[in-house]
Symmetry: C2
Subunit: 257 residues, 2 copies
C-alpha cells in the first residue's frame, strides 16, 4: 500500500458534486468505482474540497491508499482510458504516510468567472455565469478588499451549515479581466459552505450599484446570512488550486498580485 | 422585408453540421425554426460556410430576408431566450439588398486547436483534438508555409466532392501556441470539403516526423487525396471569421502575423 496524491480536473456540469452519495453521479463515486475496478478491491479517495453540484475543478487534490497492481506512475494514463471524458487525473505522486488531501492543505484557491458579453459565449456557457449588465469593477475591487483578512464569515455561509467556528482567513480576493470575462480569484485557508458563491453574489450586487463597497464591513459584522447577497450560480465556480506549504501559498499570492 | 446579416456562434458538438437535413439537428434548421416562429412565416437563412458535423463556429455569418414583426435591433436579445444554449446570435445588422453571406465573402478564417497536454483538458475536450505525442512545431511551420498561395488543392479535398475547380488561394497558415494548446489558423478565399482538416492532419504527420515538410509540395502537385494525411477530427475545428472586404481580410492577416 502506498499513500498517493492525485491531481484531478473535472467538468462538474453533470455531477451532484464531489462527495459520494448513493444513487447519484458524483466525482468521488466515479473515482472510487474506476480505481476499485483497477485494484480489484474497494478503494476510498479523500478530496481537498467537497465541491457542490455543478462546481468544476481545475486541480482538485485527492489522496488514497493505493494497493496496486497498477504502478502509481502509470495511473494517469491508465485512468485516461477508463474515466468518463469529463474527469481526468492529471498527476499521481507518492505522498508522506500522514498526508491528507484535506487536513494537510494550508490554503485553496477558487476562481469564479462572470461572462459580461451581451450574448453568452457558447464555448464558456458551462463554466461562466452570464451577467450582461454594466458592472462597476472598481467598486467591486474596493468591496473585495474588505473581505480579505481574518473574519467571522457567518454572513457568507449558507444558513443551515452545522459548523461552529466560522472564522476563516481570506488571503486575497482579486478581480482579473480577460476580454469580456471577469474572473474573481479567492485564496483562503479554508472555506465555509457556499462561501465563495455568496462572496461573488455580494460583489456582483456592488458592481450593479445596489450596495456600496463599504457595506461589506457591516455585512461581516452582522454575522447574518440574510445580510449578504444572493448565492452566485454553481457553474461559474472552479476549484483552482490547493496549497500544501506556506511556500506554495505565498507563491500563488505573488502570482495573483 | 429587410436583408439582414447575422453573426452566429455555435458549439457544433451535437449538430449534424450547419446545413439543413430532414430528421437531423442542424444549425440552419434550428435558426430557421426559431426565426420562423418569431416571424409567423417560413424564413430561410443562408450561411457563409457549411460547417460539417461536430465543427464549431465563433463567428459564422448568415443572411436572411427578415419580415418582422420583431425589429432587427432586438433580434439578438429575443433569440437569446428562444435558441438552445449552444447557438447564439451575436449581432444583427441590415445589409445591402444584394448581400449574400456566402457569395459576398472575400475570405474566411478557420482555427484548428490541438491539445498537447498528456491528459486532455476537460474544459477544452469538446473543442480541441488531443495529441499528446511530441510535435516538431518548427517543421509544421515550414510545411504550413508551403500550403500558402494559389494552388490546386485536389489532394486536400475529400475524394467524393463534385466540384470541378479545386484551385483556391490560401493567404496564411499560422501556428500559434497558447499554453499546451496549438492553434492552426488558416485564412483563404474559399475552402474545399474537409480541406482545413486534411491540411491539419497532414501538418500533424509532419509534426510527428512521419513526413518531411518538403513533402507538402509533392502532395499538392500529385492532385490525389490519397497522398495527403488523414482528416483531423471535426471537434478541433472552428469557423473563426468571415471577411466581406479586402480591408477586413488584410486587417485579419496583419493581426495574424
Amino acid at each position: 500500500m502506498a499513500n498517493l496524491k492525485l491531481t484531478v480536473a473535472y467538468d462538474g456540469t453533470r455531477f451532484s458534486g464531489f462527495q459520494r452519495q448513493p444513487g447519484r453521479q458524483t466525482v468521488q463515486g466515479v473515482l472510487e468505482e474506476v480505481l476499485g475496478e483497477l485494484a480489484g478491491r474497494e478503494v476510498q479517495v479523500f478530496g481537498a474540497g467537497r465541491t457542490d453540484a455543478g462546481v468544476h475543478a481545475r486541480a482538485q487534490v485527492v489522496h488514497l491508499d493505493w494497493p496496486g497492481p497498477v504502478p502509481w506512475q502509470r495511473l494517469p494514463q491508465v485512468l485516461l482510458r477508463r474515466l468518463p471524458d469529463d474527469v481526468a487525473v492529471l498527476d499521481a505522486v507518492p505522498a508522506a504516510e500522514d498526508f491528507h488531501a484535506r487536513y494537510s492543505a494550508v490554503g485553496k484557491c477558487y476562481r469564479y468567472t462572470v461572462d459580461r458579453s451581451p450574448v453568452p459565449d457558447v464555448f464558456r456557457r458551462r463554466y461562466a455565469y452570464h451577467e450582461p449588465r454594466p458592472l462597476a469593477v472598481d467598486a467591486m475591487r474596493a468591496a473585495a478588499e474588505q473581505l480579505e483578512g481574518t473574519h467571522d464569515f457567518t454572513s457568507f455561509c449558507a444558513a443551515a451549515t452545522p459548523v461552529s467556528n466560522k472564522v476563516r482567513t481570506v488571503y486575497a480576493v482579486r478581480l482579473a479581466e480577460e476580454g469580456s470575462l471577469l474572473h474573481v480569484y479567492v485564496i483562503g485557508d479554508g472555506f465555509l459552505y457556499q462561501m465563495v458563491r455568496i462572496m461573488v453574489g455580494t460583489l456582483l450586487e456592488v458592481g450593479l450599484g445596489r450596495r456600496s463597497p463599504s457595506a461589506v464591513g457591516e455585512i461581516l459584522a452582522a454575522r447574518d446570512r440574510r445580510r449578504a447577497g444572493v448565492t452566485a450560480p454553481a457553474k461559474g465556480l472552479t476549484l483552482w488550486e490547493v496549497y500544501y506549504s506556506r511556500d506554495e501559498l505565498e507563491d500563488a499570492l505573488r502570482r495573483l498580485s
